[in-house]
């Protein structure tokens, strides 16, 4: 007796709806350069406390830029909770990129949960999921919104990380999970496309 397509579908949905912050991070991160795994100790907690104090503002802003402000702190806290659970995997010399990368997964997962599957597909990769991004909802500038909408999801994501989080070079590469040269090229392409989209709109 085989699974009917329907029961298979249900199963996929259920799995996809588990706390995918964990699932996603286990897919997308581990990053290179692992430090010595700290034991659960005062040291670990002291390290974590430092991380939270140093990066709270950055993470809360990250989420406030991409969704309703009132959710930003909850989501930032969730990223930190993930960082604590996976502290052995967090590269000590590149904590913030790791946090941003995890934040991307957390946000995509959060959005998908909230939408409650009104769509015809529940893409299984984080990449595809972010395609739905209403991440421009907080952006007042209608012209910019239009230009950003026309550059495509990946370019948009890179542009926002660059413009708002101030990322480029090695850090951007780590957030995107690609090589440094790949990130440089991707940013350069995204900027070019944005300029083109902008030019087209302005010559409307």
């Amino acid at each position: 007796m085989q699974d009917s397509p329907l029961s298979r579908h249900k199963q996929d949905v259920r799995i996809a709806s588990t706390d995918a912050a964990d699932a996603d991070t286990s897919q997308g991160v581990p990053m290179p350069d692992r430090a010595e795994p700290p034991s659960v100790s005062d040291d670990a907690l002291a390290w974590f406390t430092g991380v939270v104090r140093e990066h709270s503002t950055a993470l809360v802003r990250y989420f406030a830029r991409r969704g309703p402000r009132q959710d930003a702190e909850d989501l930032a806290a969730e990223v930190f909770a993930t960082a604590w659970r996976r502290r052995d995997d967090v590269p000590r010399e590149a904590v913030l990129p790791w946090l941003y990368r995890t934040a991307g997964f957390t946000l995509a997962n959060h959005r998908r949960k909230l939408v409650d599957l009104p769509v015809d597909e529940v893409p299984e990769t984080a990449e595809a999921r972010v395609r739905e991004d209403p991440e421009l909802s907080a952006l007042f500038d209608a012209e910019l919104r239009g230009a950003l909408l026309s550059v495509g999801e990946r370019d948009r994501r890179i542009l926002l990380l660059h413009a708002w989080e101030g990322l480029d070079g090695e850090e951007l590469a780590q957030v995107l999970g690609i090589s440094r040269s790949g990130a440089d090229a991707a940013l350069s392409r995204a900027r070019k496309r944005l300029r083109e989209a902008w030019g087209e709109r302005m010559s409307f």
């Binding site: 397509p5 806290a77 909770a81 604590w84 599957l117 299984e124 907080a138 952006l139 007042f140 542009l159």
Partner: protein, 430 residues
Amino acid sequence: MNDDEQRDPLDRLRAADPAAGLEPRDGFADDVVARAAAATPDGGTAPVTDLGAERARRRPGWLQVAAVAASLVVVGAVGYGVGSTTGGATNLADGAAPPISLQTGADAATTEQGMMPEPSAGDLKMSAPGVGGMIYPYGSGRNSFSASGLSTSDGSAAAYAFDARAASDAGTIAALAAALGVEGTPQLANGSWTAGPQDGTGPALGVSLDGTLGFWYSDPRINPWQCADGAETCEPSGDLPSEQAAIDALRSLLAETGRDPAGYEFTSETWDGAVTRSAQAWPVVDGQRIDQAWTVELSNDGMVSASGALAELLPLGDYPVVSEQEAFERLSDPRFGAQMTALPIALRDAPVTTEEWVPPTEPPAAPGAGSAVAWPIAEIEIVEARLGLASQWQPDGGVLVVPAYEFTDTDGGTWSVIAVAESKLDFDVE
């Protein structure tokens, strides 16, 4: 002349940072650390559980904000899911058949109010590599459709177009601004009409020069989700306006801009814990709702936001339409990209469970010699066909409202496909 045109858009994007100056509330970091410390040493999940509950409690805010920012198509598409999961939607006048959407939900979600959606075929192509081997059985192409007893008669049906250009004049925009209480003379610049402050300090109106002449209005002063500067918390508060109040506000807006509310059907919904209620006015044409609704969102303090299409519908005469059977066959024709527009009821109603993710302890076993290759195909039996209307974007941004079929399967899922005969379809690529 215009500095904005000279500037690198990236500079403008930097300057538009929606979170500039935002700081977490006092004590945020301490709370995060305290929760982590309280978790079990081996990586317990207590904090996550708490946060999940926290988010669930705040969920209405997100939905509301998303609805404000996103397009009418989203309101139409998401409204169903929202209503079915929270029981909030109310259909006050269901004389007309619901609109048919030829966009997938995912596409609709990326569509800003008034913006032209990207062609879904292109999207699918682009997303395919990312999706990799994880092809989802529903709505992703690996479907096997069956049906019986469908009509084989061709016919014709009326089509319409939005006349955006006719409505794009200072007088029309000024009348809308006046009806909404927005101060200042509308200005046409950079591809849109605007009136009122665009920096979030007061009620503002924008009208996009798109195929439906979509407008959006918001009053940040009474937005319950807008945190006051420096406020430590900004939990929305206030009483929920009644359904009638929201619909009356929308009726008034339609009437004040010279439209007859009798030509619309109204719906309204809210969410558990919300402090605003939204209402939609769906234009009714030939007994069909058109999926370009006007929407308002009302709080106890007044109208928080509104959006809609200013362009009026022009009749384009009758178009030849294929029979139910031929449209059904289009479901299996990749050229027509059958769109699943509503999930089967069983899936819609399935609770979104939050079981703990169990880490695997070992990788999957190697497939054995001669193993069959898993290639799941959804068997879909169509049991009902309905001819209705759906909006469809032209390459230049113009918006048509054309005949479309909506098929319902045995599980209650619906599938939409364009009904216009090939003689009236232009297959050229740009």
